[in-house]
């Protein structure tokens, strides 16, 4: 931990202020949100918090409920130790009727054991582990898993005549599901996976991997990476002068990818269920609020968090005044055709979201929808 003297002094001055209490309203309904506000994945957690604040402010201003809804944010640092402790804390607070989060599948699943035991509905905006929603009837997620996205991408590539595909993904539970579902569908549609390779998150050098891909002579590369690794990969690919089409998942749909990779990101194709330049009014107003708060366009993840919060709030409205953990769970399970910024969402009987995917490509430094 690097701490300079100046920050120390600053903290010493500011720290007591954060204890100054919040005002009490008449019995607010509470939602818990566990997310990484610090640590290696803090950028995602901070995005979720901003998205949740936008959603909550609007909700409380709309007057849909006579009482206020509050969100209790707890920082998990993407650490299972903290995640489980937070889960217990939320369960102990009787006013909390539902929980959002966590960010990573690992922490979400460790916390899920607590929620399952205690009977607390948990809705994660990003947990993509194939077994997450299977833990119990209390787990929901608002992210299309690779079970939907992988085959969709495989079909897309096959329809473009790209049949020999090299598949690479980060070595995480999510990366595993990226390769599995994509490869199954590609093989079923008559394509071949010429190689499958995993890399560790935060790999600085993809050159040896790229050389390996080049030797396998694929028609295209299918990638499971987030924007940081994606930008590195695309830059180094361009440096090596290697040019084949690259396809990716919605995880790479982040404006930062284009900022980091610059012109090297051109031509990257991916699927998404959130288009910030969509003309839909709900998307427009969310993007406006986001730009006001952050000064840049939102990516896929904040949009998913925004929808997750709204889906949870919607479930609370439906159950009010008999809002309990059990009734919120049932209302969540009954979510049907919820009009969110990431498309219309319905929870299936397996508590997995059913969403519409769109195809986009980076053209001229923007993610542009394509019809293919």
């Amino acid at each position: 931990m690097t701490v300079t003297r100046r920050t120390l002094v600053g903290i010493a001055l500011v720290a007591p202020l954060s204890f100054v209490g919040t005002a009490f309203a008449a019995d607010p309904i509470k939602i818990g949100y566990q997310l990484p506000l610090t640590g290696n994945t803090a950028q995602y957690g901070q995005d979720f918090k901003t998205a949740a604040e936008i959603a909550l402010d609007r909700f409380n201003a709309s007057g849909k409920l006579p009482v206020k809804v509050e969100i209790v944010y707890e920082d998990s640092r993407s650490d299972a130790k903290e995640g489980v402790a937070i889960a217990r804390k939320f369960v102990d607070d009787e006013k909390i009727v539902g929980v959002l989060g966590d960010f990573t599948s690992g922490v979400s699943m460790a916390a899920a054991q607590v929620y399952k035991e205690a009977g607390m509905p948990q809705l994660s905006q990003t947990a993509s582990h194939p077994d997450y929603a299977k833990i119990s009837e209390w787990q929901f997620r608002n992210i299309t898993t690779q079970a939907g996205e992988g085959p969709y991408n495989a079909d897309w590539m096959v329809s473009k005549g790209l049949k020999k595909v090299a598949v690479i993904a980060e070595q995480t539970d999510w990366g595993q599901s990226v390769t599995k579902y994509f490869s199954d569908e590609l093989t079923a549609k008559g394509g071949t996976v010429v190689m499958t390779e995993y890399f560790n998150r935060g790999t600085p050098d993809f050159r040896s991997l790229l050389a390996k891909i080049e030797r396998a002579k694929p028609d295209a590369i299918y990638t499971g990476f987030f924007y940081e690794d994606g930008a590195n990969f695309l830059k180094q690919m361009k440096q090596l002068g290697y040019a084949v089409p690259v396809f990716s998942t919605s995880a790479a749909h982040n404006q930062k990818l284009i900022e980091l990779a610059g012109p090297d990101a051109e031509g990257l194709s991916l699927t998404t269920n959130f288009l910030p330049n969509s003309p839909k009014p709900e998307v427009k107003s969310f993007v406006e609020a986001w730009v006001k708060a952050r000064g840049a366009e939102p990516g896929q993840f904040p949009a998913q968090a925004f929808d997750a919060v709204n889906i949870m709030l919607d479930a609370i409205v439906k159950t009010y005044p008999k809002t309990t953990r059990a009734s919120v769970r049932d209302a969540l399970a009954a979510t049907k055709d919820f009009p969110g910024v990431t498309g219309v969402t319905t929870f299936g009987p397996d508590r997995e979201p059913v969403k519409q995917l769109s195809k986009v490509r980076v053209v001229g430094g923007v993610f542009s929808p394509v019809a293919e």
């Binding site: 931990m1 701490v3 920050t7 120390l8 903290i11 500011v14 720290a15 954060s18 204890f19 506000l37 610090t38 640590g39 944010y73 707890e74 920082d75 640092r77 993407s78 650490d79 299972a80 130790k81 903290e82 489980v84 402790a85 217990r88 804390k89 369960v91 102990d92 990573t104 690992g106 699943m109 460790a110 899920a112 054991q113 607590v114 205690a118 582990h129 194939p130 077994d131 833990i135 070595q171 995480t172 539970d173 999510w174 990366g175 595993q176 995993y198 560790n200």
Partner: protein, 336 residues
Amino acid sequence: MSEITRKGWVVPVLLLVLVFAVAPFTLAQFGKGYFFQVANLVLIFSLLAVSLHLVTGVAGLLHLGHAAFYGIGAYVAALMGTDLKLGFLWGLPAAGLVAALFALVVALPTMRLVSIYFAVATLAIGQMINTVLLNWVAVTKGPNGVMLFSGIKLFGFAVKGPLAVYFVVAVVVVASIWVLHRLSHSYYGNALRSLREDDQCADAMGIDTVRLKIEVFTLSAFFAGLAGALWAYTTGYVSPGDFNFSNSILILAMVVVGGLGSLPGAIVGAVLLILLPEVLRGLGDLRNVMVGLVMFVSILFLPKGLFGEVSALAFVRRNLGVKWGAAPSEREVGWR
């Protein structure tokens, strides 16, 4: 002598009463799972810190891969519970033994290394084990982690509820720490200290330093493995991220902040570094900085730790072990 004997009983009894009566009673008063969870974490990390204390504090070997053995224990317990359907009573000792076995195998070639070379070797071992946990998908399920649903069963009875789980964790941890206490406060512990102070000199005195290092490394891994099994059973889900380098550093920080070479210090360090981030939750984003600040200030002003070795040894001698009273020279030496 009778006075010493009486004194020798007071503190251990007080500590036992604290762990087995006062703490659970207070926690049960609150009736909250959260406090039990934090209490379990404190206990598990106390065991980790005390087991590392034996290697790093007493024997003076900078060990940067302790979390890896903790991870092996957790995975052994979790995989035995799910794949082999062997419950807690099998998983707990197996976790310790397998972790110890791994430690023994890696210790054989590395223990001849000294100082910084040893530290780098343990760093590499820790990273290797963590990478294997992450990438050996066929066995460890890789990044998907292992879900352990079965919970703790003792002799056919399911241990349910936070209070019962707390007691199981507390019994294992207290028994283990007692063993580690007897190891580090004995002639054996003194041999380890001689190793720390000057291993060449110890060698010249006839102490088999390499063998001693291998033993202490293996023993410490055994207890880290036990802690891993406790973590697996109290959480129900393990994944490689829980046993990475930053956890090794966290455990090391507990030992150093508490006082290098001091067993009570290691416990104090564990209690502090687990409780502090939880207590400071109200500070939001600043809490990590505050934790860092506390560590920084404590090292700055108390470089020997919160409970330094000298005072800790005096404390342990006075309260936890009886001195060898009437040595021929009438000087008090050694440990019971």
